[in-house]
Symmetry: C2
Subunit: 320 residues, 2 copies
């Protein structure tokens, strides 16, 4: 048995590969088989992480295991889907038992937290990269897309922004860790896909996505798909105390507006839906509104358009 | 707009990305949405091809486009599934318009032939590799797995074997092309997934897979999953005239038994099913039988076990 077949057996024996609801046939055949309940659709998304591009190399394999799956599952949250399963295409330059075990532990922990089962994949030799394809189910016609925002809707996010971007100088070794950095690093390495929030927004939000490229850039995707203008009020964008302590107020604002890797939901909501969501305790932060027009504008507290000034900053590495 | 966003738009505009039956939402949102008819299941498989490992680098991007999709779709054929869609995770060191256009042409041509729509993916910078995840639908309970072979069944293949392995020395530049090499190279670069055969075998074959690692090695997977012994009769393994002309009889036999990349179906069949399949014109070649026991044995025309001698050859590069 070759070393790559050993790896396949290793993953097939992992806790996260032991089937689950909706998995009719798991790892080990030519295909996995997924059961989709009548009246539901299957949501599918693929993400690739390349060493040296999307994460530092070397890095902690346990944390990489968590992060690589969380990033992919976050797309299911953005559609309001219930996670079912995932496949992993893992390309490795060399086979190291310690590395694999730590990676699989991180992966399994995140898989368990998200309720997804590993149902297949491929393991090959080559420069380190990971491609995850995730599967979720969603009632037909209820998925949250990017294209339904309407003028008058509120623009909302599901939590504090910028934490992961704030951690990037630490991750890249450009800055030494400070006491306040712990929560930022945790957010970078172990983002928590907002699955429950996404499901709660079904039938309520008119558009949604998960913020991966930065708030302003991702709002641009909703604006384009929905053919509307999104107005973001800078003062209302939620910032964590840790981020402000680490970067100062202007740096924290830049991280929250233009940094990436948040994996927090951004969505548009008819205002009539807001009170019930808040009453139920959902983390809904109104940061602006949807208007007629195109594109994204950033407003200061006096309603002045400050978009160009902020957009001029290209402080954080843009992932291709 | 960055160059990788341009690539995404390029693929989103490709003919193969324009939706299709079973695609409720295609490229462009956080997830694609697939509709699975009531009473059917979704078959899923992931394959990675790495430059310099699974294909020569550089190589013809049009041919690579065809091959990369065909290899993945072949897993749907092996399950008896009807293709629906696929995602493409493409990692590229540099962006070259000519390369991308040729690759997309090859991809689209194969996608059209197989009836699959491109519904999503990811494009990243890094060492050249491709990960395809393919989706097909199959009536619940009718998928062809590896685990149902029973003693007494016939062992069959869906066509001539060894052609792609025969082409490998040409692909790797180890041998100059000969007149007879055309069909071999065509088989290597543009394998034709046996989708119709796989669907015809639903409810008839007791086990099936597509031969990717070589006949004997892949028969081992059926033997293990079904807990039976597979007996392969060397004389009955179908060889193409082109392969015998190019490699000679012993070389052709080795390629057919131990070479990989065939993407021809191997399956087990109760003998009662054979006449109707042959009468309907399906390419079913009986090459042996299923017996009680374990493992795979190769028999000569006199029924002598010649397994060790043949297994000793490791003529072709084993892909990890």
């Amino acid at each position: 048995m070759g070393e790559f077949e050993l790896i396949r057996n290793f993953f097939a024996a992992a806790p996260c590969a032991q089937g689950g609801e909706g998995v009719a046939l798991g790892i080990g055949d030519d295909c996995a088989l997924l059961a989709v309940p009548s009246g539901e659709q299957l949501a599918v998304s693929t993400d690739t992480l390349v060493a040296g591009v999307h994460f530092a190399d070397p890095c902690d394999p346990f944390l990489l295991g968590q992060r690589s799956l969380a990033v992919a599952v976050s797309d299911l949250a953005a559609m309001g889907a219930t996670p079912v399963a995932f496949t992993l295409a893992l390309t490795l330059p060399t086979v190291t038992a310690d590395w694999l075990q730590a990676y699989a532990r991180g992966l399994s922990q995140m898989a368990q937290g998200c309720g997804v089962a590993l149902v297949g994949g491929d393991t090959t030799r080559g420069p380190l990269s990971l491609t995850m394809t995730v599967f979720g189910r969603v009632p037909a016609g209820q998925a949250l897309t990017r294209s339904g925002a309407r003028p008058g809707d509120l623009l909302c996010v599901g939590g504090e922004l910028g934490n992961a971007a704030g951690a990037l100088p630490l991750v890249l070794g450009q800055r030494a860790a400070a006491d306040v950095a712990g929560p930022l690093l945790a957010h970078y390495w172990s983002p928590q896909p907002q699955l429950a929030l996404g499901q709660a927004l079904r039938g309520k939000a008119t558009a949604a996505l998960d913020i991966s490229d930065g708030l302003l850039a991702d709002c641009g995707h909703i604006a384009l798909a929905s053919n509307v203008r999104l107005e973001v009020e800078r003062e209302r964008v939620p910032l964590s105390d840790a981020l402000v302590a680490f970067l100062g107020q202007p740096g924290a604002e830049r991280a929250a507006l233009s940094g990436g890797d948040d994996y927090v939901l951004a969505f548009t909501l008819p205002s009539v839906e807001l009170p019930a969501l808040l009453a139920d305790g959902w983390p809904v932060h109104v940061i602006g509104r949807v208007a007629q027009g195109q594109g994204v504008v950033l407003l200061d507290r006096d309603g002045r358009d400050i978009t160009p000034q902020i957009r001029g900053y290209q402080h954080f590495q843009e992932s291709p």
